[in-house]
C-alpha cells in the first residue's frame, strides 16, 4: 500500500507499544481512534450517553484482553467493528427499534442493499450531514458513506469490515453519487454565474 504514511500506521504503532507493556501508548491509541467513534455513533443515535458507554466498553475490553488480542493485524478496523457491534447490541438491549436504528437492524437481518428503495423515511440522523442526504440513504448505506468519505477507507476495507462484497459497496456509492450530482452541480454553476 502506498498510503501517505504516518496517519495509517499510527494506531498500529501505539498498539504494538501497548502490547509491549507501554501503558502510555494505550492512551495515545485512544486519542487517535476515539474521536471517530464518537462521530460515527452520533450518526446513528442522538443518545450521547449510549455512545459514551459503548466507547468505554470497547476500550476497557481491549485493555483487559490485550494478551489474547496481541496478534491483531489492523487495530483500527478491529476497534471499529467492536464499537459497531457494541452499539447494535445496546440498541437491541434498550429496545430502540425506532427511527433510524430500526432500519439499521432490519438491514442487518436481510443484508439488503438493493436498488430502488430511495424514498425512505426521514431517519433523524445526528451529525452534520446535509438534510437532503438523509432521505436518500438507509442507515447501512450511511455507514458506507461514513467509512468512505469521512474515514477515507478503501472500498476493499469497507467490504471486509461489513462482510459484504466489493461490488455492493462500489454500487451503493456510485448510485448515491449519481443521485446527489444534480444537487451539487446546480449549486456550482449557480455560484459560477454569480461570479462572472
Amino acid at each position: 500500500m502506498s498510503q501517505g504514511g504516518d496517519k495509517k500506521n499510527e494506531p498500529m504503532l501505539c498498539w504494538a507499544g501497548f502490547i509491549a507493556g507501554d501503558d502510555s501508548a494505550f492512551a495515545a491509541l485512544y486519542e487517535l481512534l476515539a474521536p471517530n467513534l464518537f462521530s460515527f455513533g452520533s450518526r446513528f443515535t442522538d443518545d450521547g450517553e449510549l455512545v459514551k458507554d459503548c466507547v468505554q466498553e470497547v476500550f476497557v475490553r481491549l485493555y483487559r484482553n490485550r494478551r489474547k488480542l496481541a496478534g491483531i493485524q489492523n487495530i483500527r478496523s478491529y476497534v471499529q467493528t467492536a464499537f459497531r457491534n457494541s452499539l447494535i447490541s445496546e440498541f437491541r438491549k434498550r429496545k430502540l427499534y425506532r427511527h433510524y436504528i430500526q432500519s439499521y437492524l432490519a438491514e442487518e437481518q436481510y443484508g439488503s442493499l438493493e436498488d430502488g428503495d430511495t424514498d425512505g423515511p426521514d431517519h433523524g440522523i445526528g451529525g452534520g450531514i446535509p438534510a437532503v442526504f438523509k432521505s436518500l440513504l438507509t442507515a447501512r448505506q450511511m455507514e458506507i458513506m461514513h467509512y468512505r468519505f469521512v474515514e477515507g477507507m478503501s472500498i476493499e476495507e469497507i467490504a471486509v469490515l461489513l462482510d459484504i462484497n466489493y461490488q455492493s459497496v462500489a454500487n451503493t456509492i456510485q448510485r448515491f453519487l449519481k443521485k446527489i450530482r444534480k444537487f451539487y452541480l446546480q449549486a456550482e454553476y449557480k455560484s459560477n454565474d454569480g461570479a462572472s
Binding site: A16, G17, G21, Y30, F38, F59
Partner: protein, 391 residues
C-alpha cells in the same frame, strides 16, 4: 502521484470514486495541493465538477466531537482499567513479557518515490554547518547560542535541563540566555549524560554531535544526532519523540533504545530495548518491536531480532561484541578513548567475541584483546598499532 491528464475528463462522480482525490481532500499535503492547482490551471473546464466534489467531501465531514466528551470518557476508562490493573498485578509482568514475544509486528511499506523531505530533519541539517566528523578533540562543548558556549573538562559531563534553567557542573544557566537550538559536541575520549526538560535521559557516546531545542514544542519533541546515543524517552502520548539522523528518523512514544549513526561508519543501527518505535527513511517506514535490531547500510535496510544488550552496554562502560571484525572494534576504541589505532591489514578481518571493560585504561583493554585474539600491539604516545602475532 498520477498524471494530471488522467483527470482531464473526470466528472463529479468519478472524482469521488478516486482514492487519490479523496485522500488529497481529506489529508492534503503540499504536493497534492500543487498537483490539483496545476490540474485546474491546465483543465479549467473541470473546475465545476472538481469544486462540487470537493464541497461534497466537506459536507460529509462529521460535526466536531466535543473534547470534553472524549476526555471524560477516557477518565471513566482509566478508573475501570486502573482497578483492573491493581487486581492483576501478580502476573502482569509475565503477561507483558509473553505479549512482547508475540508482537513481532514489522510493517514494510514503500512511500511514494517522490515522497516529501522531512521538514524536521532539514531544519537540523541546515543548522549543522561543520562536517560530520570535524569533532574537535579536547573538551565536551555545549553551545547554547552563537555567543555562549560552555566547555566541560569532565570525562563524563552531566547536563540537566528543566523547565526554566540548565544545570551544568552545578552551575545554573537561565534558558533566557539560550538560542532555540542547542548543540552538544562530545569529542573522542569523552562521554556525557543529558537530561532534557521532559525528563528524557540521553547517554551520549564519544564522537557525537547532538542538536536539540532548548524548549520542546507543544506537539513534537525532536532531536538530531551524528554519532551514538542511548535514550530513555519520557512517555508523553501527546508529544511523540523523534530522533533524526542524516539518513533516517525514528519516532517513538516512550521507550528505551540505542541509535548508532556515525557518518564515517557508512551505516546506521537502531537497537530497541523496550516500547515501540517507527523508523522513517526516504524510502520506507519500518515499525520496530522490543529486541529488534534495525540496520541501514547505504540504504539497504534489514531488521532482525537479537540480543540488544550488546549495543547498549556502553552506557555502563562495557563493550560487548560477538564475531565482530577487529577493525570495527578498533574504530570503536579509537572513539571511546580518543586515541589512534592502526591495524595491520592481515589482522583487520579477524573475528572476535568478548566483553571489554572500558573503564580500564586503553592499554589494559588492548592486553585483553591480545590475549583472546592472535594479535599483539605496540604503542607510541597516543598511537597504537595492532599486529598479527607471529607463531
Amino acid at each position: 502521484m498520477p498524471n494530471p491528464g488522467k483527470y482531464s475528463r473526470y466528472s463529479f462522480e468519478e472524482f469521488l470514486q478516486d482514492d487519490f482525490f479523496i485522500r488529497s481532500m481529506k489529508n492534503p499535503t503540499g504536493e497534492s495541493s500543487v498537483f490539483w492547482d496545476t490540474f485546474l490551471s491546465e483543465y479549467p473546464q473541470r473546475a465545476a465538477e472538481f469544486n462540487a466534489a470537493r464541497k461534497f467531501i466537506g459536507d460529509m465531514a462529521a460535526g466536531p466531537v466535543s473534547e470534553a466528551v472524549v476526555a471524560g470518557t477516557w477518565t471513566a476508562i482509566g478508573r475501570r482499567i486502573g482497578a483492573a490493573q491493581r487486581r492483576r498485578i501478580g502476573y502482569s509482568i509475565t503477561a507483558t513479557a509473553a505479549a512482547a514475544c508475540a508482537a513481532i509486528l514489522i510493517f514494510f511499506y514503500i512511500s511514494p518515490a517522490d515522497g516529501p523531505q522531512d521538514p524536521g530533519r532539514d531544519r537540523f541539517l541546515s543548522f549543522i554547518s561543520a562536517g560530520p566528523d570535524s569533532l574537535p578533540g579536547g573538551e565536551v562543548s555545549l553551545k547554547l547560542s552563537d555567543h555562549n558556549t560552555v566547555y566541560l573538562p569532565d570525562a563524563e559531563a552531566v547536563i540537566t535541563y528543566d523547565s526554566t534553567t540548565i544545570e551544568v557542573r552545578s552551575e545554573v544557566i537561565s534558558k533566557e540566555e539560550t538560542a532555540d537550538l542547542n548543540e552538544l559536541v562530545v569529542p573522542y575520549g569523552k562521554r556525557s549524560v543529558l537530561t532534557l526538560e521532559d525528563g528524557t535521559k540521553i547517554w551520549v557516546n564519544a564522537g557525537t554531535r547532538l542538536v536539540y531545542t532548548a524548549r520542546f514544542g507543544r506537539k513534537e519533541r525532536e532531536i538530531y544526532v551524528d554519532g551514538e546515543i542511548f535514550l530513555d524517552v519520557a512517555p508523553d502520548p501527546r508529544r511523540p519523540f523523534t530522533v533524526h539522523t542524516r539518513d533516517m528518523s525514528a519516532r517513538v512514544l516512550g521507550t528505551r533504545f540505542n541509535v548508532q549513526a556515525y557518518p564515517s561508519d557508512g551505516m546506521s543501527r537502531i537497537a530497541l530495548q523496550s516500547g515501540s518505535l517507527k523508523v522513517t527513511t526516504d524510502r520506507e517506514d519500518v515499525l520496530l518491536s522490543p529486541d529488534n535490531i534495525y540496520e541501514n547500510v547505504n540504504g539497504a535496510v534489514s531488521v532482525r531480532e537479537g540480543d540488544v544488550t550488546k549495543y547498549i552496554s556502553w552506557i555502563d562502560g562495557l563493550y560487548i561484541y560477538q564475531s565482530e571484525r577487529l577493525d570495527v572494534i578498533a574504530t570503536r576504541l579509537e572513539r571511546y578513548y580518543g586515541v589512534t589505532i592502526d591495524i595491520e591489514p592481515s589482522a583487520a578481518g579477524l573475528k572476535c567475541s568478548g566483553k571489554l571493560d572500558m573503564k580500564e585504561r586503553i592499554e589494559e583493554v588492548l592486553n585483553v584483546i591480545s590475549r583472546t585474539a592472535p594479535v599483539s600491539y605496540v604503542s607510541d604516545g597516543n598511537k597504537y598499532t595492532i599486529l598479527t602475532r607471529l607463531k
